[in-house]
Amino acid sequence: MATEFCPVYSPFFGVMGCVSSIVFTCLGAGYGTAKSGVGITAMGVMRPDLIIRGLFPVVLAGIVGIYGLVVSVVISGGLTQNLSLFSSFVQLGSGLSVGLAGLAAGFAIGIVGDAGVRGFAQQPKLFVGMMLILIFAEVLAIYGLIVALILNTRAGSGTCE
Protein backbone atom coordinates (compact mmCIF):
# COMPACT_ATOMS: atom_id res chain seq x y z
CA MET A 1 0.00 0.00 0.00
CA ALA A 2 1.62 3.25 -1.10
CA THR A 3 1.76 5.92 1.59
CA GLU A 4 3.59 9.19 1.92
CA PHE A 5 6.67 7.48 3.33
CA CYS A 6 6.61 4.47 1.03
CA PRO A 7 5.86 5.99 -2.37
CA VAL A 8 5.93 3.87 -5.47
CA TYR A 9 9.21 5.38 -6.69
CA SER A 10 11.31 4.79 -3.59
CA PRO A 11 12.98 1.52 -4.73
CA PHE A 12 14.62 3.55 -7.52
CA PHE A 13 17.07 5.11 -5.08
CA GLY A 14 17.87 1.77 -3.46
CA VAL A 15 18.56 0.25 -6.86
CA MET A 16 20.76 3.22 -7.75
CA GLY A 17 22.68 2.60 -4.53
CA CYS A 18 23.23 -1.02 -5.48
CA VAL A 19 24.29 -0.02 -9.00
CA SER A 20 26.62 2.79 -7.96
CA SER A 21 28.43 0.59 -5.48
CA ILE A 22 29.46 -2.00 -8.06
CA VAL A 23 29.89 0.40 -10.99
CA PHE A 24 32.23 2.86 -9.32
CA THR A 25 34.31 0.23 -7.54
CA CYS A 26 34.68 -1.64 -10.81
CA LEU A 27 35.75 1.59 -12.48
CA GLY A 28 38.46 1.94 -9.85
CA ALA A 29 39.40 -1.72 -10.05
CA GLY A 30 39.57 -1.57 -13.83
CA TYR A 31 41.78 1.47 -13.81
CA GLY A 32 44.04 -0.10 -11.19
CA THR A 33 44.31 -3.36 -13.09
CA ALA A 34 44.96 -1.67 -16.43
CA LYS A 35 47.51 0.87 -15.23
CA SER A 36 49.52 -1.51 -13.08
CA GLY A 37 49.14 -4.25 -15.71
CA VAL A 38 50.80 -2.04 -18.29
CA GLY A 39 53.62 -1.40 -15.80
CA ILE A 40 54.01 -5.13 -15.23
CA THR A 41 54.26 -5.84 -18.93
CA ALA A 42 56.93 -3.15 -19.24
CA MET A 43 58.99 -4.44 -16.33
CA GLY A 44 58.48 -8.07 -17.29
CA VAL A 45 60.57 -7.71 -20.39
CA MET A 46 63.54 -6.73 -18.23
CA ARG A 47 62.99 -9.00 -15.22
CA PRO A 48 60.65 -11.94 -15.97
CA ASP A 49 61.41 -13.56 -12.64
CA LEU A 50 59.84 -10.65 -10.75
CA ILE A 51 56.46 -10.72 -12.54
CA ILE A 52 54.73 -12.93 -10.00
CA ARG A 53 55.63 -10.61 -7.13
CA GLY A 54 54.71 -7.69 -9.34
CA LEU A 55 51.11 -8.95 -9.52
CA PHE A 56 50.51 -7.51 -6.05
CA PRO A 57 48.89 -4.22 -7.22
CA VAL A 58 46.62 -6.15 -9.58
CA VAL A 59 45.39 -8.35 -6.73
CA LEU A 60 44.68 -5.32 -4.57
CA ALA A 61 42.74 -3.68 -7.39
CA GLY A 62 40.64 -6.83 -7.71
CA ILE A 63 39.94 -6.74 -4.00
CA VAL A 64 38.53 -3.22 -4.36
CA GLY A 65 36.07 -4.66 -6.86
CA ILE A 66 35.10 -7.34 -4.36
CA TYR A 67 34.29 -4.71 -1.73
CA GLY A 68 31.81 -3.18 -4.15
CA LEU A 69 30.39 -6.61 -4.91
CA VAL A 70 29.85 -7.31 -1.21
CA VAL A 71 28.05 -4.03 -0.57
CA SER A 72 25.92 -4.49 -3.71
CA VAL A 73 24.84 -7.93 -2.59
CA VAL A 74 24.00 -6.63 0.90
CA ILE A 75 22.01 -3.69 -0.52
CA SER A 76 20.14 -5.87 -2.98
CA GLY A 77 19.16 -8.17 -0.14
CA GLY A 78 17.36 -5.23 1.40
CA LEU A 79 15.42 -4.19 -1.71
CA THR A 80 11.68 -4.81 -1.68
CA GLN A 81 8.79 -3.26 -3.54
CA ASN A 82 7.34 -1.60 -0.44
CA LEU A 83 10.47 0.26 0.55
CA SER A 84 10.37 3.33 2.75
CA LEU A 85 12.13 6.44 1.44
CA PHE A 86 14.33 6.30 4.53
CA SER A 87 15.64 2.85 3.67
CA SER A 88 16.13 3.59 0.01
CA PHE A 89 18.05 6.80 0.60
CA VAL A 90 20.23 5.05 3.19
CA GLN A 91 20.94 2.38 0.60
CA LEU A 92 21.82 5.08 -1.96
CA GLY A 93 24.23 6.66 0.52
CA SER A 94 25.80 3.35 1.36
CA GLY A 95 26.30 2.46 -2.29
CA LEU A 96 27.79 5.83 -3.14
CA SER A 97 30.14 5.74 -0.17
CA VAL A 98 31.78 2.45 -1.06
CA GLY A 99 31.58 3.24 -4.77
CA LEU A 100 33.35 6.57 -4.81
CA ALA A 101 35.84 5.50 -2.14
CA GLY A 102 36.63 2.42 -4.20
CA LEU A 103 37.00 4.58 -7.32
CA ALA A 104 39.55 6.76 -5.56
CA ALA A 105 41.39 3.78 -4.10
CA GLY A 106 41.49 2.06 -7.48
CA PHE A 107 42.99 5.13 -9.11
CA ALA A 108 45.61 5.38 -6.38
CA ILE A 109 46.46 1.68 -6.63
CA GLY A 110 46.82 1.96 -10.39
CA ILE A 111 49.15 4.92 -10.40
CA VAL A 112 51.26 3.70 -7.47
CA GLY A 113 51.31 0.16 -8.84
CA ASP A 114 52.52 1.33 -12.24
CA ALA A 115 55.38 3.38 -10.82
CA GLY A 116 56.02 0.79 -8.12
CA VAL A 117 56.54 -2.20 -10.36
CA ARG A 118 58.73 -0.23 -12.72
CA GLY A 119 60.94 0.81 -9.79
CA PHE A 120 60.77 -2.69 -8.30
CA ALA A 121 62.20 -4.12 -11.51
CA GLN A 122 65.26 -1.96 -11.18
CA GLN A 123 65.66 -2.27 -7.41
CA PRO A 124 64.05 -5.40 -5.91
CA LYS A 125 64.44 -4.08 -2.37
CA LEU A 126 61.65 -1.60 -3.17
CA PHE A 127 59.04 -4.34 -2.91
CA VAL A 128 58.26 -3.76 0.76
CA GLY A 129 57.94 -0.01 0.23
CA MET A 130 55.62 -0.49 -2.75
CA MET A 131 53.54 -2.96 -0.75
CA LEU A 132 53.14 -0.52 2.15
CA ILE A 133 52.06 2.35 -0.10
CA LEU A 134 49.58 0.10 -1.91
CA ILE A 135 48.11 -1.08 1.38
CA PHE A 136 47.56 2.53 2.43
CA ALA A 137 45.73 3.09 -0.85
CA GLU A 138 43.64 -0.07 -0.32
CA VAL A 139 42.68 1.06 3.15
CA LEU A 140 40.81 4.01 1.61
CA ALA A 141 38.42 1.55 0.03
CA ILE A 142 38.04 -0.22 3.36
CA TYR A 143 36.96 3.05 4.97
CA GLY A 144 34.24 3.33 2.35
CA LEU A 145 33.26 -0.28 2.96
CA ILE A 146 32.99 0.29 6.72
CA VAL A 147 30.77 3.35 6.31
CA ALA A 148 28.66 1.53 3.73
CA LEU A 149 28.09 -1.45 6.01
CA ILE A 150 27.35 0.74 9.03
CA LEU A 151 24.79 2.70 7.00
CA ASN A 152 23.29 -0.47 5.63
CA THR A 153 22.54 -1.92 9.05
CA ARG A 154 20.29 1.12 9.59
CA ALA A 155 18.53 0.60 6.28
CA GLY A 156 16.13 -1.98 7.58
CA SER A 157 14.57 0.23 10.21
CA GLY A 158 12.28 2.36 8.04
CA THR A 159 8.51 2.07 8.42
CA CYS A 160 5.69 3.12 6.15
CA GLU A 161 3.72 5.15 8.67
Binding site: V8, V23, G37, G44, L55, L69, S76, L79
Partner: protein, 222 residues
Amino acid sequence: MLSTTTYAMNNSPSYGKYYYGGLYSLLSFILTVIVLYYVLTGRGERIDIGWFLSETSPYMWASLGVGIAVSLSVVGAALGIYTTGTSIIGGGVKAPRIKTKNLISVIFCEAVAIYGLIIAIVLSGNIESYTQSLVDTDDVIKARNWYAGYCMFGAGVTTGVVNLVCGICVGQVGSGAALSDAADPTLFVRILIVEIFGSAIGLFGLIISVLLTSKAKMGDKN
Protein backbone atom coordinates in the same frame (compact mmCIF):
# COMPACT_ATOMS: atom_id res chain seq x y z
CA MET B 1 48.70 50.95 -41.75
CA LEU B 2 49.05 48.13 -44.24
CA SER B 3 51.96 46.62 -42.35
CA THR B 4 49.96 46.36 -39.11
CA THR B 5 47.06 44.69 -40.92
CA THR B 6 49.40 42.17 -42.47
CA TYR B 7 50.97 41.56 -39.05
CA ALA B 8 47.52 41.01 -37.56
CA MET B 9 46.57 38.58 -40.30
CA ASN B 10 49.74 36.57 -39.96
CA ASN B 11 50.03 36.59 -36.17
CA SER B 12 46.41 36.60 -34.98
CA PRO B 13 45.88 34.56 -31.78
CA SER B 14 43.84 31.35 -32.01
CA TYR B 15 40.96 30.99 -29.61
CA GLY B 16 40.14 27.43 -30.59
CA LYS B 17 41.70 26.06 -27.44
CA TYR B 18 38.98 27.72 -25.38
CA TYR B 19 36.22 25.74 -27.12
CA TYR B 20 35.48 23.18 -24.40
CA GLY B 21 35.96 25.63 -21.55
CA GLY B 22 33.58 28.07 -23.22
CA LEU B 23 30.96 25.42 -23.91
CA TYR B 24 31.12 24.15 -20.35
CA SER B 25 30.80 27.66 -18.86
CA LEU B 26 27.89 28.50 -21.16
CA LEU B 27 26.02 25.36 -20.15
CA SER B 28 26.68 25.93 -16.43
CA PHE B 29 25.49 29.51 -16.76
CA ILE B 30 22.25 28.43 -18.41
CA LEU B 31 21.75 25.72 -15.77
CA THR B 32 22.38 28.21 -12.93
CA VAL B 33 19.89 30.69 -14.35
CA ILE B 34 17.24 27.99 -14.68
CA VAL B 35 17.81 26.68 -11.15
CA LEU B 36 17.81 30.17 -9.61
CA TYR B 37 14.62 31.04 -11.52
CA TYR B 38 12.83 28.06 -10.07
CA VAL B 39 14.14 28.57 -6.55
CA LEU B 40 13.76 32.32 -6.24
CA THR B 41 10.25 32.59 -7.70
CA GLY B 42 8.77 30.03 -5.33
CA ARG B 43 8.36 27.40 -8.04
CA GLY B 44 10.81 25.01 -6.39
CA GLU B 45 8.21 22.33 -5.83
CA ARG B 46 7.59 22.04 -9.54
CA ILE B 47 10.95 20.26 -9.85
CA ASP B 48 9.50 16.99 -8.69
CA ILE B 49 11.78 13.99 -9.04
CA GLY B 50 9.18 11.78 -7.39
CA TRP B 51 6.57 12.81 -9.96
CA PHE B 52 8.99 12.04 -12.77
CA LEU B 53 9.87 8.64 -11.38
CA SER B 54 6.28 7.60 -10.75
CA GLU B 55 4.80 8.98 -13.98
CA THR B 56 7.34 7.42 -16.35
CA SER B 57 6.43 3.98 -17.47
CA PRO B 58 8.34 0.95 -16.16
CA TYR B 59 8.55 -0.16 -19.78
CA MET B 60 10.82 2.85 -20.39
CA TRP B 61 13.12 1.93 -17.53
CA ALA B 62 13.24 -1.74 -18.49
CA SER B 63 13.89 -1.01 -22.16
CA LEU B 64 16.58 1.52 -21.31
CA GLY B 65 18.19 -1.14 -19.17
CA VAL B 66 18.16 -3.64 -22.01
CA GLY B 67 19.58 -1.11 -24.47
CA ILE B 68 22.30 0.17 -22.16
CA ALA B 69 23.33 -3.36 -21.18
CA VAL B 70 24.14 -4.50 -24.68
CA SER B 71 25.31 -1.23 -26.19
CA LEU B 72 27.80 -0.18 -23.54
CA SER B 73 29.16 -3.73 -23.24
CA VAL B 74 29.77 -3.80 -26.97
CA VAL B 75 31.44 -0.38 -26.82
CA GLY B 76 33.75 -1.68 -24.09
CA ALA B 77 34.54 -4.80 -26.08
CA ALA B 78 35.25 -2.74 -29.19
CA LEU B 79 37.56 -0.37 -27.34
CA GLY B 80 39.42 -3.36 -25.93
CA ILE B 81 39.66 -5.14 -29.25
CA TYR B 82 41.06 -2.18 -31.11
CA THR B 83 43.64 -1.50 -28.40
CA THR B 84 44.78 -5.12 -28.35
CA GLY B 85 44.47 -5.62 -32.08
CA THR B 86 46.67 -2.73 -33.08
CA SER B 87 49.38 -3.91 -30.70
CA ILE B 88 49.19 -7.50 -31.96
CA ILE B 89 49.53 -6.32 -35.55
CA GLY B 90 52.29 -3.89 -34.68
CA GLY B 91 54.27 -6.40 -32.66
CA GLY B 92 53.62 -9.08 -35.25
CA VAL B 93 55.58 -7.21 -37.88
CA LYS B 94 58.86 -8.26 -36.30
CA ALA B 95 57.56 -11.34 -34.46
CA PRO B 96 54.79 -13.03 -36.49
CA ARG B 97 54.63 -15.97 -34.09
CA ILE B 98 52.60 -13.90 -31.61
CA LYS B 99 49.53 -13.60 -33.79
CA THR B 100 47.74 -16.85 -32.89
CA LYS B 101 48.51 -16.95 -29.18
CA ASN B 102 47.46 -13.35 -28.58
CA LEU B 103 44.01 -13.93 -30.03
CA ILE B 104 43.20 -15.00 -26.47
CA SER B 105 43.25 -11.34 -25.44
CA VAL B 106 40.82 -10.53 -28.24
CA ILE B 107 38.57 -13.37 -27.07
CA PHE B 108 38.62 -12.02 -23.51
CA CYS B 109 37.35 -8.70 -24.86
CA GLU B 110 34.72 -10.45 -26.96
CA ALA B 111 33.51 -12.31 -23.87
CA VAL B 112 32.66 -8.94 -22.35
CA ALA B 113 30.29 -8.26 -25.24
CA ILE B 114 28.75 -11.71 -24.79
CA TYR B 115 28.05 -11.00 -21.10
CA GLY B 116 26.17 -7.88 -22.13
CA LEU B 117 24.24 -9.80 -24.77
CA ILE B 118 23.21 -12.50 -22.31
CA ILE B 119 22.02 -10.01 -19.73
CA ALA B 120 20.09 -8.06 -22.36
CA ILE B 121 18.36 -11.23 -23.57
CA VAL B 122 17.49 -12.28 -20.01
CA LEU B 123 16.23 -8.80 -19.18
CA SER B 124 14.11 -8.56 -22.30
CA GLY B 125 12.55 -11.91 -21.46
CA ASN B 126 11.50 -10.41 -18.15
CA ILE B 127 9.42 -7.64 -19.70
CA GLU B 128 5.75 -8.59 -19.36
CA SER B 129 2.70 -6.51 -20.03
CA TYR B 130 0.33 -5.41 -17.30
CA THR B 131 -3.25 -4.15 -17.55
CA GLN B 132 -3.39 -0.40 -17.03
CA SER B 133 -6.79 -0.48 -15.31
CA LEU B 134 -5.53 -3.04 -12.80
CA VAL B 135 -2.48 -0.91 -12.07
CA ASP B 136 -4.61 2.21 -11.60
CA THR B 137 -6.76 0.59 -8.94
CA ASP B 138 -4.41 -1.81 -7.18
CA ASP B 139 -1.46 -0.21 -5.40
CA VAL B 140 0.38 -3.45 -4.73
CA ILE B 141 0.46 -4.46 -8.40
CA LYS B 142 1.55 -0.96 -9.39
CA ALA B 143 4.35 -1.05 -6.81
CA ARG B 144 5.49 -4.45 -8.08
CA ASN B 145 5.62 -3.33 -11.72
CA TRP B 146 7.36 -0.04 -10.96
CA TYR B 147 9.87 -1.87 -8.75
CA ALA B 148 10.50 -4.34 -11.56
CA GLY B 149 11.13 -1.50 -14.01
CA TYR B 150 13.67 0.15 -11.71
CA CYS B 151 15.46 -3.15 -11.01
CA MET B 152 15.77 -3.91 -14.71
CA PHE B 153 17.15 -0.44 -15.38
CA GLY B 154 19.67 -0.94 -12.58
CA ALA B 155 20.67 -4.35 -13.88
CA GLY B 156 21.18 -2.97 -17.39
CA VAL B 157 23.23 0.03 -16.29
CA THR B 158 25.37 -2.20 -14.04
CA THR B 159 26.20 -4.60 -16.84
CA GLY B 160 26.75 -1.87 -19.39
CA VAL B 161 29.08 0.37 -17.45
CA VAL B 162 31.04 -2.42 -15.72
CA ASN B 163 31.57 -4.21 -19.02
CA LEU B 164 32.64 -0.93 -20.62
CA VAL B 165 35.33 -0.54 -17.97
CA CYS B 166 36.30 -4.21 -18.13
CA GLY B 167 36.68 -4.11 -21.90
CA ILE B 168 38.95 -1.07 -21.79
CA CYS B 169 41.01 -2.65 -18.99
CA VAL B 170 41.44 -6.02 -20.73
CA GLY B 171 42.35 -4.20 -23.94
CA GLN B 172 45.12 -2.21 -22.29
CA VAL B 173 46.59 -5.26 -20.59
CA GLY B 174 46.24 -7.37 -23.72
CA SER B 175 48.10 -4.76 -25.70
CA GLY B 176 50.94 -4.90 -23.20
CA ALA B 177 50.84 -8.69 -23.27
CA ALA B 178 51.20 -8.75 -27.04
CA LEU B 179 54.22 -6.46 -27.02
CA SER B 180 55.95 -8.31 -24.19
CA ASP B 181 55.21 -11.62 -25.93
CA ALA B 182 56.91 -10.21 -29.01
CA ALA B 183 59.96 -9.39 -26.87
CA ASP B 184 60.07 -12.65 -24.88
CA PRO B 185 57.74 -15.63 -25.46
CA THR B 186 57.87 -16.88 -21.88
CA LEU B 187 56.16 -13.77 -20.54
CA PHE B 188 52.77 -14.29 -22.12
CA VAL B 189 51.33 -16.75 -19.64
CA ARG B 190 52.24 -14.58 -16.66
CA ILE B 191 50.73 -11.42 -18.13
CA LEU B 192 47.61 -13.48 -18.89
CA ILE B 193 47.06 -13.66 -15.12
CA VAL B 194 46.58 -9.87 -15.09
CA GLU B 195 44.05 -10.20 -17.90
CA ILE B 196 42.13 -12.78 -15.92
CA PHE B 197 41.89 -10.35 -13.01
CA GLY B 198 40.56 -7.79 -15.44
CA SER B 199 37.99 -10.22 -16.79
CA ALA B 200 36.82 -10.96 -13.26
CA ILE B 201 35.66 -7.34 -13.03
CA GLY B 202 33.15 -8.00 -15.81
CA LEU B 203 31.93 -11.06 -13.95
CA PHE B 204 31.25 -9.00 -10.81
CA GLY B 205 28.92 -6.78 -12.83
CA LEU B 206 27.24 -9.86 -14.28
CA ILE B 207 26.59 -11.29 -10.79
CA ILE B 208 24.95 -8.09 -9.54
CA SER B 209 22.87 -7.80 -12.73
CA VAL B 210 21.58 -11.32 -12.33
CA LEU B 211 20.77 -10.62 -8.67
CA LEU B 212 18.81 -7.48 -9.61
CA THR B 213 17.03 -9.20 -12.50
CA SER B 214 15.85 -12.02 -10.26
CA LYS B 215 14.03 -9.44 -8.14
CA ALA B 216 12.07 -8.05 -11.07
CA LYS B 217 8.63 -9.48 -11.86
CA MET B 218 6.31 -7.52 -14.09
CA GLY B 219 2.74 -8.46 -14.92
CA ASP B 220 -0.70 -8.70 -13.45
CA LYS B 221 -0.07 -11.20 -10.71
CA ASN B 222 0.57 -10.23 -7.13
